[in-house]
Symmetry: C2
Subunit: 329 residues, 2 copies
C-alpha cells in the first residue's frame, strides 16, 4: 500500500515526520511505500540521499496549527494536507496521515474524500492502553454534540476497526455512561442504549469511568467531548507519574535505589501509557483512510501511525464500514 | 457543630458509618457532635456502650441503593436519609452525610432543605488529587444536561467551597473544554466561557483533559456527565496501578525488591489516589449542608467526610453562596 505523510504538520515538522517515514520503510513487515507531501527542497535537505520506496510530492502552502479549518480548505488548495488527501482521491495513494491542524485534516478529508453513504457523522477513534490489551474510544473529538444514531454508528465503525486492525473477533462494545443501568445517564445515552441493544453488535451495556482502562470493552462509545477529555486525561498520566517520581526521589534520596531497581517496570508502564506507541486516530466514516496524529508526535508515533494506516488501507476498512452500514440501515 | 450521619446507607453500612463517626469524634480538632440516624438497636449493638458526643435518632425505613429517588422520597418518609436531613431543617443539626443512594440523598436534600434563592441547579463538587494540592471538579453527576448559566453558578459555588473549606484565597477557575481557545468546544462551553470571562471570578480560561491532575486550576467546571466520568476514571487509577504492580512483580521476581524499597513512595501515591482520603462530595446550592459519600466508603472516608461537613457547617458556606449569588445576579 502507498501511505501519504504530511511532512509539514505538527510541532516537530518536518523532522519527526521524515524520520518516522524512513523508520517505517525500514521496519515494516508488510509491503509499504510512502509519499511525503511538503516543501521538496526542505525535505530533500533532511534526507541522506534517495530512500527506496519514498517519493516526494512538492506542495507550497502550509496550514498552521491555529488556522481555521474552513479558511485553510478554501485558501490553501496547494497545502501538504489538501494535496496529500487528493492523491488518495485520484487513486495514486491508499491512505493519509498528518500530525497537523486536526480540524483542517478532518474538514479536508470530509470535503475531498466525501463521507461514506449512510454515515451521518465521521468520527475519530483512538487507542487506549488497558491492563489487558489496547481498546479504542470513539469519538475522541470530531463531534461534540451527538444524537443517539451517531453513537450507534460510532459503535459499528469502531467494531470494524477493532476487528480488522487489532484483529479481535466480535469485539465487545460498551456505552460510556454515569451508571450501569439502562435508565441511567442523559437523554443521549438512554436512547443510544436502546439502539445498541437492538443492534447486531456485541453490546455489553453501559460502562462507567472506572471501567475504561480495565479493558472491560474493546470499543468504548461516547460523544466527542467526553472522549476528547478522557483521551487527553489518559495521555497526561505518564508525565504525571514521571513528575511525581522525580519530586519524590528528590525528597527521599534513599528511595532512589528502589526506583533504579524498578526501571524495567517503570519503563514498561511508561511505554504502556505512551500514546506514541499506539499511533494516530483514524477518521472513520469518510471514503478513504485518513489518520490524525498528535501534534507533538515523535518519529516513533509517526512510524506506528503509518503502520496502522497501512493496515487500514490493506483491509479497506472504509469499504467494510460502508457495507456494514448499508446492511444495518 | 452537629453532623448527622446516615448509618444505614452504603455498601459497608452500618459498620463503616458507625466506626467513621466514632473515629471522627476521637480525632476532630474542632468542636464536633454526631447524630446517627438508623435502626437504634442495631447501632447500639455495634457500639461499645455510650460514646461521648454521639446520639442516635431511631428511623425505621431504609432506602436501598437501586431504589428510585422519587419513590424513596414519597414512600419512605421515616428513612435514615429523610429524617437525617429533616433534623437540619428543624435546626437540630448543622450538616448531613450519607454513603447511601446518591439520587435519593440529592432529591431529599433538595426537597427538604430547598434550593438557595438564585441557584438554578444544585451540583456536586468532588476533590481530585493533583501534583500540587487538592482541587475540586464541579459538577460530578448532579446535572447531566447543563446550560451556560449553570456552569457559571457551579464556578461561583465551587470557588466559595475552595476558599472556605480548602482555605485558598481567590481560587483559579478553569473551564473543562476540548481546546484552549475561547472558540473551542460545544455551544455550552463557548457560551459559558463568555459568562465566566465577564464574571468577578479568577477565571483562567479553558483547560483540557491533560490539565486536570496537574492542578492548573483550583476549580474545574464542567457538566455533570463529563465530571462523573473523570471522577470515576480517577478513582480507578489506584487499583489499576496496584494490579499492574502485582502482575508485574509476579512476572519479574527480581523487581520485587525494588517494589519493597519503594514502599513509602508507593504508599504515598496510593494515598494520593485514594478518594477515601478526601471525603465526600457536597451538594452545593441547597439551603444547608448535605454531603454524598462513595457507596464503598470505609471508616476513613466517612471520618474525613464528617470533617469536611463540620467545616462547611462552621463556615456556613450555603449562606456565603446565597450572598454571592445575590450580589452577582
Amino acid at each position: 500500500m502507498k501511505v501519504v505523510v504530511d511532512a509539514m504538520g505538527g510541532d516537530n515538522a518536518p523532522d519527526a515526520l521524515i524520520e518516522g517515514a524512513v523508520q517505517s520503510l525500514e521496519l515494516s513487515k508488510e509491503p509499504l511505500q510512502i509519499i511525503l507531501t511538503g516543501d521538496e527542497s526542505l525535505i530533500k535537505s533532511k534526507l541522506n540521499g534517495k530512500v527506496s520506496g519514498l517519493e516526494i510530492v512538492h506542495t507550497t502552502d502550509v496550514v498552521s496549527s491555529d488556522e481555521s479549518p474552513t479558511s485553510a480548505l478554501k485558501q490553501k488548495k496547494n497545502s501538504s494536507i489538501a494535496v496529500g488527501i487528493k492523491l488518495q482521491k485520484q487513486g495514486r495513494a491508499d491512505a493519509f496521515i498528518s500530525a497537523g491542524n486536526t480540524g483542517a485534516v478532518m474538514a479536508s478529508s470530509l470535503f475531498i474524500l466525501d463521507r461514506l453513504k449512510g454515515v451521518s457523522r465521521p468520527s475519530l477513534a483512538a487507542f487506549f492502553p488497558t491492563l489487558r490489551e489496547y481498546i479504542i474510544v470513539i469519538d475522541v473529538g470530531a463531534n461534540t454534540d451527538c444524537k443517539p444514531l451517531n453513537l450507534l454508528q460510532f459503535a459499528i465503525m469502531g467494531s470494524i476497526y477493532v476487528e480488522y486492525v487489532l484483529e479481535r473477533k466480535n469485539p465487545k462494545v460498551g456505552l460510556l455512561n454515569i451508571g450501569e443501568e439502562p435508565s441511567k445517564g442523559d437523554e443521549l445515552t438512554r436512547e443510544a442504549y436502546k439502539l445498541l441493544s437492538k443492534s447486531n453488535l456485541n453490546f455489553s451495556g453501559n460502562i462507567e469511568g472506572q471501567d475504561v482502562l480495565t479493558g472491560e470493552a474493546d470499543v468504548v462509545v461516547c460523544d466527542g467531548f467526553t472522549g476528547n477529555v478522557i483521551l487527553k486525561f489518559t495521555e497526561s498520566l505518564r508525565n504525571l507519574l514521571l513528575n511525581y517520581l522525580r519530586i519524590y526521589s528528590r525528597k527521599k534520596p534513599r528511595v532512589k535505589m528502589g526506583i533504579s531497581l524498578l526501571t524495567p517496570f517503570l519503563d514498561d508502564l511508561k511505554n504502556k501509557l505512551n500514546y506514541e506507541e499506539y499511533g494516530g486516530a483514524p477518521l472513520l466514516g469518510v471514503n478513504g483512510i485518513s489518520i490524525v496524529c498528535h501534534g507533538k508526535s515523535s518519529p516513533t508515533a509517526i512510524r506506528n501511525a503509518i503502520f496502522v494506516a497501512n493496515r487500514c488501507a490493506a483491509q479497506k476498512i472504509h469499504k467494510k464500514i460502508e457495507k456494514e452500514l448499508r446492511a444495518t440501515s
